[in-house]
């Protein structure tokens, strides 16, 4: 393990100082308070300004906290934007796998359970209804687990008792936390009979710029078709889901400059 990184520590100290005394400190004040070399302070402030965490009120003037810090935590992807980037890849996954495909994300502007933002029918022309806009339980679905695993703050929220849908539903926060560790490590999630008996879902994370999980994509089908003889998810399907998730992530990465 490397030690702590000095420049990040110093940048954090500058942020704390500027937040405590907004619009009151100039370059010299900050340099002297933190006992740094002036070029170092200047370089750090310049970078913090560039990423939008700090603003300088006038050239050579005082510093204050930038708008970029206030927006932290709200930089979720517009679900409709997400759908339009996903549509070709999800169609292809449905066609190749033969299963229905779903994309889910946390709602944009209010806290709440994840919502389905895109749904591609199972390609057998049977009677199916669009699930777009529907809320899903985050602990009982593969899509939800991916979203929880990618949101460290949310992973710890809630009481210990979770709503139970079937005998296979994860019922306690402790068990869920252990499951999320596995999900993060393997890069995909499954929910086998956990929301609906006889239905298995597989999901993988869609990542935005910088690698943050912005959404989950998965397929959903009959448990006996999605899992193998040992009741494990079929590895071919897991691979197809993961590949699709990576393709959409790449698409988002390039689309967002």
């Amino acid at each position: 393990m490397p030690g702590s990184i000095q420049s990040v520590e110093r940048a954090a100290a500058i942020l704390q100082l500027v937040a405590e005394y907004p619009a009151q400190l100039g370059l010299t004040d900050i340099t002297e308070t933190l006992d740094l070399a002036k070029p170092t302070t200047h370089g750090l402030l310049k970078t913090l300004c560039e990423v939008g965490f700090v603003e300088q009120l006038a050239a050579g003037g005082k510093y204050t906290i930038g708008a970029g810090l206030n927006r932290l935590g709200q930089v979720r992807l517009d679900p409709n934007e997400l759908r339009s980037h996903s549509v070709n890849w999800t169609d292809s996954l449905a066609a190749r796998s033969g299963f229905a495909v779903l994309v889910a994300a946390f709602p944009l502007d209010q806290p709440g359970p994840p919502e389905i933002v895109h749904h591609v029918f199972r390609p057998d022309d049977s009677d199916q209804r669009l699930l777009t806009g529907r809320q899903i339980p985050e602990h009982a679905t593969a899509l939800g687990k991916i979203l929880l695993a990618g949101s460290p703050m949310l992973a710890h929220r809630g009481s210990d008792a979770l709503e139970v849908f079937t005998p296979a539903t994860i019922a306690s926060a402790r068990v869920l936390a252990r499951e999320l560790v596995i999900v993060r490590k393997q890069g995909w999630a499954a929910s086998i009979d956990e929301f609906c008996i006889g239905v298995t879902e597989l999901a993988a994370p869609i990542r935005g710029a910088g690698g943050r999980v912005v959404a989950a994509i998965g397929l959903s089908g009959r448990t006996d078709r999605v899992t193998d003889a040992k009741a494990h998810p079929k590895s071919l399907l897991v691979r197809q889901v993961a590949e699709t998730a990576r393709a959409i992530s790449r698409d988002l990465g390039t689309a967002r400059r």
Partner: protein, 504 residues
Amino acid sequence: MTDDSRFVLAIDQGTTSTRAIVFDQSGRMVAVRQHEHRQHFPYPGWVEHDAVEIWHNLQQLVPAALEDADVTVGQIAAVGIANQRETTVVWDRHTGKPIHRAIVWQDTRTAGLVERLATDPRAAEVSRRCGLPLATYFSASRLSWLLDHVRGARERAEAGDLLFGTMETWLIWNLTGGAHVTDVTNASRDMLMNIRTLQWDPLLLDFFNIPAAILPEIRPSLEVYGLCRTLIPGVPIAAALGDQQAALFGQTCFEAGEAKCTYGTGSFLLLNTGAEPVYSTHGLISTVAYQRAGEPPTYALEGSIAVTGSLVQWLRDGLGLISSAPEIETLARTVSDNGGCYVVPAFAGLFAPHWRSEARGVIAGLTSYVNKGHLARAVLEATGWQTREVLDAMNADSGLPLRALRVDGGMTANNLLMQFLADILDTPVVRPMMAETVSLGAAYAAGLSVGFWPDLAALRRNWHRAAEWLPDMDPAVREREYENWRFAVTRTFGWIRDGKPDAG
């Protein structure tokens, strides 16, 4: 059983780019390569492409697509072409060099010529024979312009030294090393072909003053035109279709009464009308949907809507209300209705079914209550209502009631719009799993033509619903809103007075 080792190549020569796409026998896309070409705007209203640049692009795209798909030339059963329609190329038979840049379908340089021709007593008969209204949109006036404005062109054309074609003709000529053919769907947009006989019509040639020697041979859309001599040597070129007809084919609308709408910058609605052309009295175009070798043609009615996706782009680039096109749905969902506001985007007049070139756009019903969310909703609804107007006209012309509308194109990712369409059309709206219907149509046609697929039924089995939106609107609301829309449309009429220019 499907054959995993054989594929079909589709070439989609579009307005902004050319694409090469490899499909497997299940109709799934295996590889796609795309290359944009330059848009030349020498004067206001003029739009040109360099046909040689497009051919060079294709020469790079095809090997790259085959490599991506890990497929050899020997595994390609056939190649099919879908192309931007009405774009006009003239080249020298001996050197293969175009005498001028291609004049693109959007180009309006022949407006004066078309206006003069409209006063000719034969004009009504011309429209009846070709099934098209007299407009700059079609190829004939452009070909005539080229012959009159390129030095020596008319003499060389009459001597048989020049060749005319739309993009599929140009590509087939280059691929085969000299076959000069056009498919019947493309030819149906030239304004020179008789829509019943499917032959060049002497009256039409005389009307536009076109020498017959320059014209390609009209051939069915599904037929082997020849083998490629270059690029993919030995592979049969087995189909060509205009892009919108290809989309109709890719959506497997093979029966009379089946329709598709492609939602892009503008939108194109085509309705299969079966074995007989329907002459529209409501401002629609009669066109050939497709023709298989040795069989009679299948016809279609076509209604084009000039401004749909481009209205969303205007909200983004012109007004800055959204930062990306998909965000319009997010903005529109901040309100529950249009707040009484209607946007009629007659930016360059109104197309089908109104055909009012003097109309200009309006935002109607503005009150201080209307906010940007309402405006976003009104912008999306404008695409819905324009579709409704064209469908109503088709219904009146053909007497064929629509059972479901098949949709494709970028705007089908907009859920709010798709639900609104189902609501106001009062019919299910269906998106197929394979969204690339233009290239798929070209692939299907080519594959069918060489027996890669046995019949139309096999193609239908490849078609799957990816999503379906069902009508869910109070009929009274639907009627009231439609009435408001139609009232707003009348507000656009007559804006351009005495031929005065738009601005200043």
